[in-house]
């Protein structure tokens, strides 16, 4: 699993990346009550807005960790947005992306680096 400074995680399987927000981000944002996801087929650019995760009080943008095309959005989240809190790094995944540039994956942090990043906050 790889991570971004914006608290997203990426799990690669071939050229398909599964993306979500980290347990740390989910805990800090509080209970998620609404998730807005891009439609399959949407084209993503690394660092651009990809999704919106809302708590009772606020809406937060989630940025695309990688460039590519959305192949699947987690439809379960429309009825169960709480999955983002309950299982942020598995059942609460947001989208699957067919990535455009494998080099972008290499540039992401591994878990040790992400945890060091959290300690620096």
């Amino acid at each position: 699993m790889r991570f971004t400074k914006d608290h997203e995680w990426v799990e690669m399987e071939g050229d398909i990346a599964t993306v979500g927000i980290t347990a740390y981000a989910a805990e800090q944002l509080g209970d998620v009550v609404f998730v807005e996801l891009p439609a399959p087929g949407a084209s993503l650019k690394a660092g651009a807005e990809m999704a919106v995760v809302e708590s009772v009080k606020a809406a937060s943008d989630v940025y695309a960790p990688l460039s590519g095309e959305v192949t699947l959005a987690n439809a379960d989240l429309s009825d169960n947005p709480q999955s983002v809190n309950d299982a942020p790094e598995n059942g609460g995944w947001l989208v699957k992306i067919k990535i455009a540039d494998p080099a972008e994956v290499e540039a992401l942090m591994d878990r040790d680096a992400y945890e060091a990043h959290l300690r620096s906050l």
Partner: protein, 409 residues
């Protein structure tokens, strides 16, 4: 406000850093240390170091308050007493005299307020716009006639207190009481929780207040609140505050609740938030707060902004505060409300997710022709028009403590 996750989390630690660096200017309540010791998320609010949420988070704190009892530190607000400099000793005459000091500034009828009662009213400017909303209470004690208990909002208190003191002049003295703690206990189990510590409070009626002796000091307790639930607001001397807070929290029915859930609770209760849902441009009638306007004083033309209020009472205001049931993403403050042909009607002034209803709700302004319940409108969220239906407020029924009135036979 929208931002990325990292920016949102960073702004939170940045706000904390600011709060530490400016500790000399940021005011602590008598309970700030107690909140920090419970790992509350703190934020500067109206110049005070205040808890936004505790470990359970906004959603669970909100639902707990609706089901049990929530404790809120609202010491940032502005309690004060307005008293006559010279009393005649005649209780009725003294109440009339102190009422005459504040009535020129507000739209309520304080002269007719019964002893021991509290009234919600509005401070108005010369154009009939709302400067603040506040509570005014008349003491029950015959020896305290000629005194009024006031509670104004945190962000507006310096201005309010200046206005009131100036209007009272040499005849009245305004004594601030915001150096103590103001603690709200709200929810269906609030009366049982507080009764265990302060025997006798549960007989108070809604919108009444009484002084109680407590641990060598005095608590001023009103049966009132900002959640739509039964509950109390307690003005407590600073020296007793941590002890009272700790003893209330020792009751497992009571959880501490932050300002985050306080806001979602008052939104469900349809109660306006000053500076958001009402401000100096809004009239009481536009804000659907006509109940707070004294008919006697409106008729007499003795209200500030009397011309506007009389015109709006006769012809109807040009816009009304409405409740909206929103489909899809929550519509938050600033979202545009549109009608047929995408015509812009007004703006959302408060909005979010209702934990009780499990759906987004909002309040905002629309012209009277679009303000009736069941009118289908739209709200624009992130550039998309979403369905929004006008609904009567409160969104969640009030459960105030109103003893059943005897039926006349």
């Amino acid at each position: 406000m929208r931002s990325g996750i990292a920016a949102r989390l960073a702004s939170r630690s940045w706000r904390f850093l600011i709060s530490v660096l400016t500790a000399d200017t940021l005011l602590a309540t008598p309970l700030s240390a107690a909140h920090r010791s419970r790992a509350a998320r703190m934020t500067p609010f109206a110049g005070y170091d205040m808890p936004v949420s505790y470990t359970p988070g906004v959603l669970k704190e909100h639902l707990w308050t609706r089901a049990h009892a929530g404790l809120f530190d609202v010491s940032h607000m502005g309690p004060a007493f307005l008293s006559l400099t010279a009393r005649s000793g005649d209780p009725a005459a003294d109440h009339a005299a102190v009422s005459a000091l504040i009535e020129p500034l507000i739209c309520g009828d304080i002269a007719s307020l019964a002893p021991g009662r509290l009234r919600y009213t509005l401070l108005l400017n010369a154009e009939g716009g709302i400067i603040d909303d506040l509570m005014v209470g008349r003491p029950a004690d015959p020896d305290r006639q000629g005194e009024l208990y006031l509670v104004v909002n945190a962000a507006t208190k310096p201005g309010d207190f200046g206005l009131i003191a100036e209007a009272a002049g040499a005849k009245g003295r305004l004594t601030r009481a915001d150096d103590g703690a103001l603690i709200a206990v709200q929810g269906p189990e609030a009366a049982a929780v507080l009764e265990a510590l302060v025997p006798g409070v549960s007989v108070l009626g809604f919108m009444t207040f009484v002084r109680f002796a407590f641990e060598g000091g005095t608590l001023l307790i009103s049966r009132s609140g900002y959640t739509g639930e039964d509950g109390f607001e307690i003005l407590c001397p600073a020296s007793l505050a941590e002890g009272l807070w700790a003893r209330l929290l020792a009751d497992e029915r009571a959880w501490p609740i932050g300002l985050g859930a306080r806001d979602s609770l008052r939104l469900e209760a349809g109660l306006p938030l000053y500076g958001h849902d009402i401000d100096a441009t809004t009239s009481p009638l536009e804000a659907n707060l006509a109940f707070a306007v004294s008919k006697r004083r409106l008729k007499a033309g003795s209200l500030r902004g009397a011309a506007r209020l009389a015109r709006e009472a006769a012809e109807g205001p040009s816009r009304l505060r409405v409740g909206l049931s929103v489909e899809g993403a929550p519509a938050r403050e600033g979202a545009e409300i549109t009608g047929p042909n995408s015509a812009r009607l007004g703006l959302v002034t408060s909005g979010g997710f209702s934990p009780t209803l499990g759906a987004p709700i909002a309040m905002g302004y629309a012209p009277p022709a679009f303000a009736a319940p069941d009118t289908d409108l739209r709200v624009t969220v992130r550039g998309r028009a979403q369905a929004a239906r006008v609904v009567a407020m409160p969104f969640v029924p009030h459960r105030y403590h109103r003893p059943a009135t005897k039926l006349e036979t």
